[in-house]
């Protein structure tokens, strides 16, 4: 008798929790000052090993926070280790590393338009590991860990070519009609790569390979045509580095082997980056000098600052905090003076941020 009661109790507890824990959006009242044309902000949460990725959305107008809008809208999960998100035209593209997919979504609704697979064979084969995505003239360029860059038409979603580059390519960016791809070789650690492949976008061929610091992973471009390549270095034998490439000549302008920061988020002349000490610094892309003071002016600190983005319209800077890399993270919004406006809860390992217009 006792046991029966207990099992009922257990059952009712489980049921009760199931009812009360439905995936619900939260209303978050923040003091936001978004510009008129912004609809909201997406944060891509990588998850980790067994915890699937998610797409967090905060709507500026309704002030609702949806922990995973991808699964709420599409009834399925993004998959394993979503690595990059970009918006091109009216569509949003998400590269999902372990699942071997590029998810094409309606940028405003997150409704799935197409799931493009990048597998080593048919269904049930291993992933080519799509890492990052960039766009040029109606084509999407996707770096794949199998050592290629896929050229995909953004209307038909067909891949016309796989351009061989270096090992384990990471981020890529377009400057002067050319694509710059960071060849990390990170999976050969410690024998990493230290090159950037330059692809001519009219011929889709590699025209040059530029030597940068060991284990490059981040590529960004400023309005002057400078390409910034951040590299991890090899722990214990070489430092992290920042290499500046002139995309007009493809010559290395400078290489800073004592760079302690992360990827750049560029807004005009200001490139914001997360420094090794957890502060936010600004590199001036016109004068090539970095500030030594913290951009954050109100004393806000982070446990594990993870990703940075900036809104060129409002001048806001967004920083995510991965906390302990296995619990929910946070995204902080700062105004142009470095004062915190608000913070929101994200999923696990919030690795990319993208703003969407109305």
């Amino acid at each position: 008798m006792k046991s029966i009661q207990l099992s009922y109790l257990l059952g009712s507890i489980a049921l009760l929790t199931a009812i009360t824990s439905c995936h619900k959006d939260k209303i978050v009242n923040n003091q936001t000052t978004p510009t008129a044309q912004r609809a909201g902000i997406y944060i891509l949460d990588q998850g980790y090993s067994s915890q699937l990725s998610a797409l967090t959305y905060y709507d500026y107008t309704t002030k609702t926070l949806t922990p995973d809008i991808f699964s709420s809208v599409n009834g399925r999960s993004l998959g394993n280790t979503a690595n990059d998100v970009e918006i091109y035209g009216s569509k949003m593209y998400i590269t999902v590393d372990k699942s071997g997919t590029v998810e094409v979504l309606n940028a405003k609704t997150a409704k799935s338009i197409k799931q493009v697979k990048f597998l080593n064979g048919d269904k049930d084969s291993t992933s080519k590991e799509p890492r990052s995505i960039a766009f040029y003239n109606g084509n999407a360029y996707i770096s794949l860990y199998n050592g290629t860059v896929a050229v995909m038409d953004t209307i038909t979603y067909t891949v016309s070519k796989y351009i061989p580059v270096g090992n384990d390519p990471e981020q890529l960016a377009v400057a002067n009609g050319k694509l710059y791809v960071a060849n990390s070789g990170g999976l050969n650690y410690p024998a990493v790569d230290s090159t950037v492949s330059v692809i001519n976008l009219s011929t889709s061929t590699v025209t040059k390979t530029i030597t940068v610091g060991p284990d490059p992973y981040a590529v960004s471009v400023d309005s002057y045509g400078n390409v910034y390549v951040a590299a991890y270095g090899v722990y214990g034998s070489s430092n992290a580095s920042l290499t500046i490439i002139n995309s007009g000549t493809d010559a290395v302008t400078s290489r800073n082997n004592s760079y302690t920061g992360g990827p750049f988020a560029i807004n005009g002349n200001n490139a914001f980056y997360i420094d090794g000490d957890g502060t936010i610094k600004i590199f001036n892309v016109k004068t090539f000098t970095a500030t030594t003071t913290n951009f954050i002016s109100d004393g806000t600190t982070f446990v594990a600052p993870f990703a940075i983005a900036t809104d060129p319209l409002s001048g806001e800077v967004f920083v995510t905090d991965a906390k302990n890399y296995s619990s929910n993270g946070l995204i902080y919004a700062f105004d142009k003076t470095g004062k915190k406006e608000y913070s929101l809860t994200t999923g696990i390992n919030p690795g990319s941020i993208i703003l969407v217009n109305k």
């Binding site: 489980a14 199931a18 372990k98 384990d168 999976l187």
Partner: protein, 676 residues
């Protein structure tokens, strides 16, 4: 009188080996103490009574024996103890799936596994995979909260928060029948074929040996329902094959119960697929694990006439692990191939002496030298010397029993490359008390406090770290108060035992491994503080409704409120720690008629969260899994035969214990065994 003494001996030996010398040797100076209350009362108990499960121990303990394994549809040690109160099994699913056990929410690293009294040590990872043990040669498994009952034992047995003690089968043969051979085969779902053989041999009056061997092969594949990818079809769990061989041999010498020696040798060889967490839309890479372990260990136990007791244990072990990952690995070789070789030398000595017949003192000292070699890049190649010293005492005063000990742990690391972590030392105490309010001893009150110290494992301290990580040891404190009641009758109810223990545990400086974005980033930290309040209730009963019939019913209930109290600014502050159900209930019922028995087992666990944040997206629903089994012992041409069938997940439920690792649906296992 003889009978009574035998019972006394048996009972007290179980309760605490300390009392053995007085009764076994019947020493004159001590004969008066045979009249002590504690002994006197026992004479009322009939020797012919059924073996009552022993839950009335000074610290809570739960036991499962060889004959019970079929009742729980158990194939591994973890299966056999999944019904225990306070136990939370992390089961990654399938036949070769890793299984670790956490007791009272303290984590798998704080459970020590004793194999014939000697700790199974994994200096690299700290956790013992309980799926490695086949049940064929196991006599008994006991889980002790805090520590085993006897104070004359290895110092390491005092060192963990909880102890899982595994005893192998010892030959009990006579001159008339000097040998026994057990041969059998298990088979069924997952393509399982598992033949096994056991040879027990009496050499002479003092010497005997036992040899066990088995071969296990299975493809391990099973279907599961994947809900997260939006598909309706069943997927198949792949890369799940298991190929394992194990041989062990034990040589026993026993002049008497107070003068014993054993020498044992174990060989374990395994080659298995490691199914990764489910990957949506693509196949995961193919991870495999190869193990080859050799253990040689010996024990000597002597109790002198003056009550002086000596226990010596020695162990040499070598454990080789090879991990490979192929298919979709984008490095120069297209694969990951990591080798780890752990070697260990261990010596323990324990002495005990009765200062007064009711007051015993013991001192144990253990030394362990563990070394890890690897082909991993930039590895430290650490060697660790661990010294454990314990002073313990046991005092019985009328209806009271007191036990206390103080343990010193000293750890010193040396590394071949880089810098070693600084040496560490700590004193941790344990205090235990029990009280029998009734003269019949049917009722017991008990309480304990225990503090433990866990040093970071090699993986936590050194893996991918040039400098050792600045980690502090993890401390646990346990407070327990409980009540245990045992009733035996000559009527329909043969026995009823009930115990309830409430506990409060806390963990300080919990060592947390963090999967960071690049392996070279330090990813192990002393983050956690956990506050655990729980209740374990154990009920066991046996009935004899009719002649030749027997029925058993047991129920174990666990309540655990284990919350994270690390930092009030954390989003998960005061939330339940991952993978810890608040309520767990395990029910087991059996009916036996002569040599035929049918059994039913049910496990219910309430919901859990896969992450620290108790958010809907990390919610894992509660589950209810049923097992049924039937066993029949009969004679075929005068040869004893055991035939059994076990059904796991009887109602074919979809469930997960670990997020991303779906559990199998209904499966079957058949056993056919003969004894010569």
């Amino acid at each position: 009188m003889q009978k009574t003494l035998q019972y006394d001996y048996r009972h007290l030996w179980r309760k605490s080996r300390c009392y053995v010398p007085f009764f076994v040797l019947g020493l004159m100076p001590y004969h008066v103490f045979a009249q002590l209350d504690t002994v006197k009362k026992l004479k009322e108990v009939k020797v012919s009574s059924p073996v009552v499960p022993q839950i009335q121990t000074v610290t809570p303990s739960q036991t499962v024996t060889n004959s019970d394994f079929v009742k729980y549809s158990a194939f591994t040690v973890a299966d056999a103890i999944r019904n225990f109160a306070g136990v939370n099994i992390q089961d990654y699913g399938g036949i070769g799936g890793m299984q670790t056990v956490s007791v009272r929410s303290l984590g798998a690293d704080n459970v020590e596994v004793l194999y014939n009294g000697v700790q199974m040590n994994d200096a690299q990872n700290g956790e013992i995979d309980l799926s490695k043990f086949n049940l064929i040669n196991i006599q008994q498994i006991t889980l002790f909260n805090a520590q085993p009952l006897d104070i004359c034992q290895t110092a390491r047995a005092f060192a963990a928060a909880n102890v899982l003690s595994i005893q192998t089968i010892q030959p009990k043969l006579s001159f008339e029948k000097p040998f026994k051979i057990v041969a059998g085969v298990k088979g069924g779902s997952f393509g399982l074929v598992n033949p096994y053989l056991q040879w027990q041999q009496r050499i002479n009056k003092y010497w005997s040996f036992i040899i066990n061997g088995y071969d296990e092969n299975a493809n391990g594949q099973y279907k599961y329902k994947e809900n997260a990818d939006g598909s309706d079809t069943l997927a198949t769990r792949k890369n799940t094959d298991v190929h394992t061989q194990q041989i062990d041999a034990e040589l026993y010498w026993a002049k008497s119960d107070s003068d014993k020696f054993n020498l044992q040798f174990n060989f374990y060889n395994s080659n298995r697929g490691l199914p990764s967490a489910v990957v949506l839309y693509a196949a995961p890479s193919t991870q495999r694990l190869y193990n080859r372990d050799y253990i040689i260990q010996s024990g000597y136990h002597h109790i002198a006439k003056n009550s002086f007791e000596l226990l010596l244990n020695t162990k040499l072990s070598q454990s080789f692990v090879r991990y490979t990952d192929t298919g979709g690995i984008y490095n120069a070789t297209g694969m990951i191939n990591e080798n780890y070789m752990q070697r260990e030398a261990y010596q323990s000595a324990a002495i005990a002496y009765h200062i007064l017949p009711n007051w015993k003192l013991s001192y144990s000292s253990d030394a362990d030298l563990s070394n890890l070699q690897s082909n991993a890049y930039n590895y430290a190649f650490p060697t660790r010397l661990s010294l454990f010293n314990v002073l313990a005492t046991n005092l019985s005063l009328g209806r009271w029993l007191f036990q206390g000990n103080i343990l010193n742990t000293y750890i010193d690391d040396r590394v071949k490359s880089g810098t070693a972590a600084s040496s560490k030392s700590a004193y941790t105490p344990t205090v235990i008390a029990s009280y029998h309010p009734l003269t019949t001893k049917e009722l017991e009150f008990r309480a304990f406090y225990k503090s433990t110290f866990r040093n970071p494992t090699f993986s936590e301290q050194y893996y991918y770290a040039i400098a050792p990580r600045p980690l502090k040891p993890e401390y646990t404190s346990q407070y327990d108060a409980g009540i245990a009641y045992t009733k035996t009758t000559d009527g329909v109810l043969e026995y009823l035992t009930v115990s309830a223990d409430a506990y409060y545990n806390n963990v300080k400086n919990k060592i947390i491994y963090i999967p960071a974005r690049s392996p070279e980033t330090p990813s192990v930290v002393n983050l956690g503080k956990v506050d655990i309040r729980g209740l374990d209730v154990v009920l066991k009963s046996q009935f004899k409704p009719f002649y030749n019939w027997k029925a058993t019913l047991s129920a174990n209930y666990t309540y655990q409120n284990a919350i994270d109290i690390t930092d009030p600014t954390d989003s998960y502050y005061l939330e339940q720690i991952p993978y810890t159900p608040k309520n767990t209930l395990a029910l087991n019922a059996g009916i036996m008629y002569k040599q035929f028995g049918v059994y039913y087992n049910q496990i219910l666990a309430s919901h859990r969260y896969s992450e620290s944040d108790n958010d809907p997206q990390y919610y894992l629903p509660g589950y209810s899994v049923s097992y049924a089994s039937a066993a029949y012992n009969f004679k075929l041409n005068s040869i004893p035969v055991l035939a059994s069938v076990e059904v796991n997940n009887l109602y074919n439920k979809n469930y997960v214990i670990v997020n991303g690792f779906p559990m199998p649906g209904r499966s079957f296992r058949f056993t056919f065994q003969i004894t010569i």
